[in-house]
Symmetry: C3
Subunit: 499 residues, 3 copies
Amino acid sequence: MGVASQTESARARTVSLDRDDLELHEDRFFDPDPSIRSVARLLYEETRDLPLICPHGHVEPRMLAENQPFPEPTALIVIPDHYIFRMLYSRGIPLESLGVPSRDGTVVEQDPRKIWQLFAENFYLFRGTPSGVWLAHELHEVFGVRRRLSARTAQAIYDEIAEKLASPEFRPRALFERFNIEVLTTTDAATDTLDHHRAIRESGWKGTVLPAFRPDAVLRIATPAWNAEIEALATLHGSPIAEYEEFIVALEGRRAFFRSMGATSTDHGVVEPHTERLPIAIAEALFQKARIGRATPEDQRRFEAHMLMEMARMSVEDGLVMQIHAGSFRDHNDQVFTRFGMDKGADIPLATEYTRNLRALLNAYGNDPRLMLVLFTLDESTYARELAPLAGHYPALRLGPPWWFHDSPQGMTRFREATTETAGIYNTAGFNDDTRAFCSIPARHDLNRRLDANFLAGLVARHMVDVGDALEMARALAYDLVRETYRLEGVAGRGARGA
Amino acid sequence: MGVASQTESARARTVSLDRDDLELHEDRFFDPDPSIRSVARLLYEETRDLPLICPHGHVEPRMLAENQPFPEPTALIVIPDHYIFRMLYSRGIPLESLGVPSRDGTVVEQDPRKIWQLFAENFYLFRGTPSGVWLAHELHEVFGVRRRLSARTAQAIYDEIAEKLASPEFRPRALFERFNIEVLTTTDAATDTLDHHRAIRESGWKGTVLPAFRPDAVLRIATPAWNAEIEALATLHGSPIAEYEEFIVALEGRRAFFRSMGATSTDHGVVEPHTERLPIAIAEALFQKARIGRATPEDQRRFEAHMLMEMARMSVEDGLVMQIHAGSFRDHNDQVFTRFGMDKGADIPLATEYTRNLRALLNAYGNDPRLMLVLFTLDESTYARELAPLAGHYPALRLGPPWWFHDSPQGMTRFREATTETAGIYNTAGFNDDTRAFCSIPARHDLNRRLDANFLAGLVARHMVDVGDALEMARALAYDLVRETYRLEGVAGRGARGA
Amino acid sequence: MGVASQTESARARTVSLDRDDLELHEDRFFDPDPSIRSVARLLYEETRDLPLICPHGHVEPRMLAENQPFPEPTALIVIPDHYIFRMLYSRGIPLESLGVPSRDGTVVEQDPRKIWQLFAENFYLFRGTPSGVWLAHELHEVFGVRRRLSARTAQAIYDEIAEKLASPEFRPRALFERFNIEVLTTTDAATDTLDHHRAIRESGWKGTVLPAFRPDAVLRIATPAWNAEIEALATLHGSPIAEYEEFIVALEGRRAFFRSMGATSTDHGVVEPHTERLPIAIAEALFQKARIGRATPEDQRRFEAHMLMEMARMSVEDGLVMQIHAGSFRDHNDQVFTRFGMDKGADIPLATEYTRNLRALLNAYGNDPRLMLVLFTLDESTYARELAPLAGHYPALRLGPPWWFHDSPQGMTRFREATTETAGIYNTAGFNDDTRAFCSIPARHDLNRRLDANFLAGLVARHMVDVGDALEMARALAYDLVRETYRLEGVAGRGARGA
């Protein structure tokens, strides 16, 4: 049989497939080479059922505090997920027609079934994307859907999910348990009262949900909201914050409060990861300039660089793991921002420099075993050039997993290929899902465990490591390293060997 | 049989090969893994015979207007192709000995057979390069050559090609038809009269050849030729251009003329894709400064940034698709430029920034459905970091195919791997060959169709998409997307399903 | 048998492995795909036994001049290798406990067995790194060790190596011969007397060991040691160096001396590869400013840019091959530098620009066939963007092999994939090991030959080149190109065909 007729019959087989069946292939995301695939399966089996540790993400603690049923499929899956609606928007579908709430009074679509239909009709846009495969996993594994989402199946699938959401097994806490989440960390402003976290703790429910301290808003001295943030901070602090030193004391106080509520980490979002210690007098002057609303963007840049130094100092003292997420140009699209606000899929990465920018912080604190600093980047060109060499030298440094746009099959592969040869795997921080889409959490961890297994299987197939080593490495990447990096000894442990 | 003896016999088989045979392997460029290769074949079968759409390139319209026979092999294949002679030059072969015409009176080799022989003797330099495989395809498929080019076969192959070129089947229009070109777009200066385009249209020949509006020369206000360009523009415009506003009106007029001649697109070459709207008074001042020959490179940079805004505004109004090719440092080698002029293989890429540079333009026009903006880059580090996030958000934006040095097997693979997970394939613009080497057009499209098929087959083999999806994606990449992006509804369509 | 039970039995087989056995798989580092692997084997067989040419590295010539036995395993393998101790340090193991000599009086561990044990216990950190596989090769092939290094086997392996080191077969010259080194080039300061090189030449030993001229220290006019360097240079020069012109003459004199001692190359380490010719008066002024200790870092930057021009001019005149290693931020960690000095694993790469920076040098000398310039980078984003286009145009330019952090399986693969399509392989300089770890030399060359064979096998499997071409390319990459690039015609030749 020649190539042409083989091709013809393969085409015939394809055409005869019922394209409506939704299946998750057992070997999905693995390299098709048999000697890689067989080892990838073996390694994945070692990690697939380990509990999920979620040390960084954006799930709302209120959801788990109140434990109310999720409203309906569109409000759960489409409207809050900027990965989804940015892609639809990029092909000309107005955000209004997707029900994204406006903040300027613009009327938006209110019929969830209409929005769901539009989403389903355009679901082909997600072919080859992580959103596409996450959603397939979520539909199949969380909601038991067995048909592919399309214009034709949209309403029936909507009904199927809606029915599930009404049942007690689909309340947030029940899903949390079913997802086998061992720890879930949220992201909380410095001025957050952590009332929802308190409610969870006092409810008697056994789920471990921890806050993380993210003080960005009180450090951005050139933003219009800054003075109000300082007032809110002062209220919680219990005394006025008129001077820089009081500001520092207030921050230390909030960190102590977060720690008392279970926090093990802080998080810092900056455009540029510049670090530089300012003389106190300069810091004070910048603070006072900001108090009268006169701080410039350049003032803010210097103040943030100084405050990263202070945050590292406090981490050395109180043991909170420090995370830096650098390099996102937020709200790039003014029209979208004006009408719909932030986190609407219009944040665009920037080239980012680490070697010079982090030098002050690493020189001051990077040799101190009390500091644990986890770095995230959106600039993959820095993986092999700057980040792996830094992490392969400074004891305090670990590399966070591929972030945001790079939390994807190729993105994860590039990360491991570019960092392992210089930093090894033991200077990386394990996985985190970094999501606000609660029901996508299992899909994201599963994708990561498969891709890490596949990467390690490639090392085995090329005889860089043996299978015994690879089994230990797979487990480290899926569980041990994240627990160690985020200092979760006290709160995590179900996945520990023999536990 | 041990590894060593297996190797020995494999070596023996190799040695026994007649190394003079030129063959194009049916599965060339496909991953050797059987589960990828079989799907790649299937997908390639779907697209291999689709018409070629060539929406951006540098073929001379005169060639198709006059339809004269090509002179002889060296003048067709070696002398005009900077991909070829730059590589020979890089290993110490003088451009003079390759017959590249000098502009300073330097005597260059005139014997085409001698040049062809030199090329053939050094053809091993192209091993593993796209030029190498394009030429193999061109010799085999266009000219029916069945021997590999080498010192020994050079003259016989020269004869073979020369004979073909003399026959009517090898005239430009006959080749155009045989190549199955549905649309071919040229690149034309703002001051071009489009006489050759008019001649093609009036000749009664059915081939579709369109102009594209490329006004770079009239925007580069710091170059010595600028004032002459403005004079030429004024002549065509039919009235003097003494002021900035008249300049704008003249450009609008030329665009209308290009549209009347079939143009659907413009093209803009810039070092840096900076965009910024200047107050009219500033634009006018820069224009006047240029009129007296005093504009500086920095003035030009600002003027070009402003004019990109104006070009986008005009595109919103007249519907011409806007292309930006950024990041080439032209004429890096002064000696080569002085002696041989531009486009001599001495253009070198620069690191390029898009996120901040394009913000003004995208904020002003990027949400407007009337704009279609196609971006090209020579800086692959921007694919995943900047370009895919921008294209995965702004409705107006599409990513052009891997350009120039990256129009190659690994280059195409890196492009798809780096952009698909964030932007999908539907925010990309399909392929264009961007060539002045007319006879290499089929080779370039074939290479691209094979590589895109291979990329999609990898997704299938890893169960990211199924074969049915992949078939639709392959067709979109080879035909549908380019037709849609370049707004060719009116002029293209032979490849449409069922057509 | 289902997937699960297959996996179970695969796991059982793994567990039953004696994990203490150290084996080097015959096919290590090759792609597992059978059609790639079989060709990779064939190509590797062509090159595996070729002599090693080592045109750039940091082996101490004294070692080969004195030919004394190596002290003991820890002093040979752990203490001098910053690849090894930086990784241990990065996971919190103090350099003191690894016996790294301090320069500030800090007491460090003196017991080599204790250090070796600590290294062995943490050897798992090198899983998936080149250091890990180099060491496996070195233990197995150089020292005949057949057990994996671990906490349990550490002392026995120490004994095994120590015993070997005491025998005459393990003296430096005996190993040099056993390693089949055809040429070994060291790196020597401009002020080096080359006494060890003289001693080697006069000893009657047949090994070819050449110096390379590295004048960095006498060009860094803002460093505190600079004036002392100039005094040392003057002493060797035999007359005072009070003026810039005398400095130039002294450098020309040292180059002539190095050439008389066999040197064929120079080497230049710069942060930024900036080149710019200064007027003599400016160069003189900078030189005088430095003589009185007032040169600033910016002065040094300009002076170095000018001196790269001068070094290129001298290379054109005297024929020494010029190497530039750019982009390392040296001694990033002040604490480590203060306590332990330089080359302690704290050098971190920087983003590096070549297109604009090298333009002055390439315009002045890049078209001259007398110049051979070899470029090295730590910024892989420049491979396809800047370096391959430059090397694919300028006759004088060759690309050095993947350097330092990138001298690794993935690093080599990325280098070939990113440069071959634009520059071909014939504008690259072959391999160099760039190591101070003498016993790792065979491991490094073997890894490179395997990876280049594997890259070429991928081209064959995808029908980009045929096996006959690939055999010639493999040989060029392993032997011919390095000999040609470093102008070793006179001193190398044992590996030449038929020799």
